[in-house]
């Protein structure tokens, strides 16, 4: 039964994506629409060609790697800082009192609004991009860590004490594992947002990366290049999300199995 359901789903997925492709293809044949929409075959050709001939100064996969490495550095930093700060601001009362006001203030500033300040502080090089990605991801991760810790049930803490857990052990033995699913949720949302942030950062100032590809496409009015960039961006966004989900399945087997 389940197998048939998933087979039906995949058949429909193929039908639906093929239909999209056909509509896009036929639409781009039309003269009026053709000016707005590039031929999808051209777009795919452009992507394929990008692997052998450079777009701008670099090959397509080099652009991708540039963007990914920026995301990776900012994201990893954000994970470390976000998880530590999140725990500090939720498990420790004093930490909460100190950190929370700043958290509330910074939380309501959209991450991309940091771009100008980041450029003033760190220049237009790599550092300002790491900073934007960091700020984007760190707020999301912190929020989720804090929610995760706040959701630890007092009953479960009571059980742990009853079983002889010392106050010092409580964090590692109960709070941490309890908060892990929520933290993973945060990591997943953050990776998506970090990916969006690197695009924005690259579009503001950059000479490589996928964000640069679409912006360069815009300034030369090259729709094929813009759409090629968008397709690549979508694919990589999807891949990143799948990666985190796979990691979660590994690390939180107890939680996923129940679903």
């Amino acid at each position: 039964m389940k197998k048939r359901e998933s087979l039906r789903k995949s058949v429909w997925t193929i039908i639906s994506l093929v239909t999209l492709f056909l509509i896009w293809y036929l639409g781009s044949r039309n003269e009026e629409l053709g000016r707005l929409m590039p031929d999808p075959v051209e777009v795919l050709k452009f992507i394929a060609a990008g692997f052998v001939a450079p777009i701008g100064k670099k090959l397509l996969w080099e652009h991708i790697l540039w963007s990914l490495s920026r995301v990776l550095i900012g994201y990893v930093l954000a994970c470390i800082v976000g998880i530590l700060l999140g725990f500090a601001a939720s498990w420790f009362k004093v930490g909460e009192a100190v950190i929370r006001p700043f958290y509330l203030l910074l939380r309501s500033i959209p991450s991309l609004a940091w771009i100008p300040l980041a450029i003033l502080w760190f220049g237009i090089g790599e550092k300002s991009k790491y900073f934007i990605i960091f700020i984007t991801a760190v707020m999301i991760i912190m929020t989720n860590v804090m929610d995760g810790v706040k959701a630890v049930s007092p009953e479960l803490l009571g059980v742990a004490r009853m079983l002889g857990t010392k106050e010092k052990q409580l964090f590692v033995r109960v709070v941490l594992p309890c908060a892990v699913p929520q933290i993973f949720n945060g990591l997943q949302v953050a990776v998506g947002s970090a990916w969006a942030a690197v695009l924005a950062a690259e579009m503001v100032r950059s000479s490589e990366g996928v964000g640069w590809i679409i912006l360069a496409g815009q300034s030369s009015m090259n729709m094929v290049q813009i759409f090629a960039g968008i397709v690549v961006i979508g694919m990589i966004g999807l891949l990143l999300a799948l990666l985190i989900r796979a990691a979660e399945r590994r690390l939180c087997a107890w939680n996923v199995r129940g679903k």
């Binding site: 009953e155 479960l156 009853m162 079983l163 002889g164």
Partner: protein, 251 residues
């Protein structure tokens, strides 16, 4: 010699956000001797769990105090293991890890605690499920894990809070026999809360009958029926009638 547990004039008052007061326990006093199986029985929703939590140290009494072997109880600890109504296993630990948890935090080495935990898993009949996570097993099995986990702390007292309340009737009977069997192999002091008369008579050496809100001790009855007991034994039935009548009169 002092009793294992001594509850002295315990009173509990809850005050909600609107400032309304709700007295759930009033002047509750009783004692529990070593290796005695005491059932706290009462019909209402009120007070019994709170009373058990106060003995466990999970909640504080508004007035009065609880002594364990002559010392005032001030917080939860492994000497008073609780089996909860809603079980409360650690969902991220396997059955084995849940059972051996208390020994792990005490710093016992892994080979010894495996062996010890294995013994209790055997005792509650969960062999073969050591590696399962709580979400993968049934309610009855979870409650067995809860019981094994409590025994593993080597408690002076076992506190059981309507442990079979959420189980179906069949499993419930099975678990009652199980508890009797286990406590005959592992002699321990047990305080068992229930709102089911039959369960109370079936299990208890002594029943402490509580009134409804605010709860207080109505009667303290010794149950001398020989074991194993039977639900259809005439003496059992007459005892049951007597307790029911007592409660009705009170109402």
């Amino acid at each position: 010699m002092s009793s294992m547990i001594e509850v002295k004039n315990v009173r509990k008052l809850f005050v909600n956000e609107e400032g309304e007061k709700n007295e759930v326990l009033k002047n509750v006093s009783f004692h529990v001797d070593k290796n005695e199986f005491v059932v706290i029985f009462g019909p209402g929703q009120c007070g019994k769990t709170t009373l058990l939590n106060i003995i466990a140290g999970l909640e504080e009494a508004t007035d009065g105090e609880v002594l364990k072997m002559g010392e005032t109880v001030s917080g939860p600890g492994p000497d008073r293991a609780v089996v909860f109504q809603d079980i409360l296993l650690f969902p991220w630990l396997t059955v084995m890890q849940n059972v051996e948890y208390s020994m792990k935090v005490r710093g016992m080495d892994s080979r010894m605690r495996r062996e010890e935990a294995g013994k209790y898993i055997d005792l509650v009949g969960l062999n073969g499920f050591e590696k399962a996570y709580p979400v993968q097993i049934s309610g009855g099995m979870k409650q067995r894990v809860g019981i094994a986990r409590a025994y593993c702390t080597k408690p002076d007292v076992m506190l059981m809070d309507e442990p079979f309340g959420a189980l179906d009737a069949q499993t419930r009977y099975l678990m009652q026999d199980e508890v009797i069997r286990i406590s005959s192999t592992e002699k321990r002091t047990v305080v068992f809360v229930t709102n089911n008369v039959e369960e109370a008579i079936y299990l208890a050496d002594r029943i402490i009958i509580m009134t409804d809100c605010p709860s207080t001790v109505l009667k303290d009855i010794k149950i001398d029926l020989p074991r194993p007991r039977s639900y259809v034994d005439p003496e059992f039935l007459s005892l049951r009638k007597e307790i029911s009548a007592m409660l009705n009169r009170k109402r």
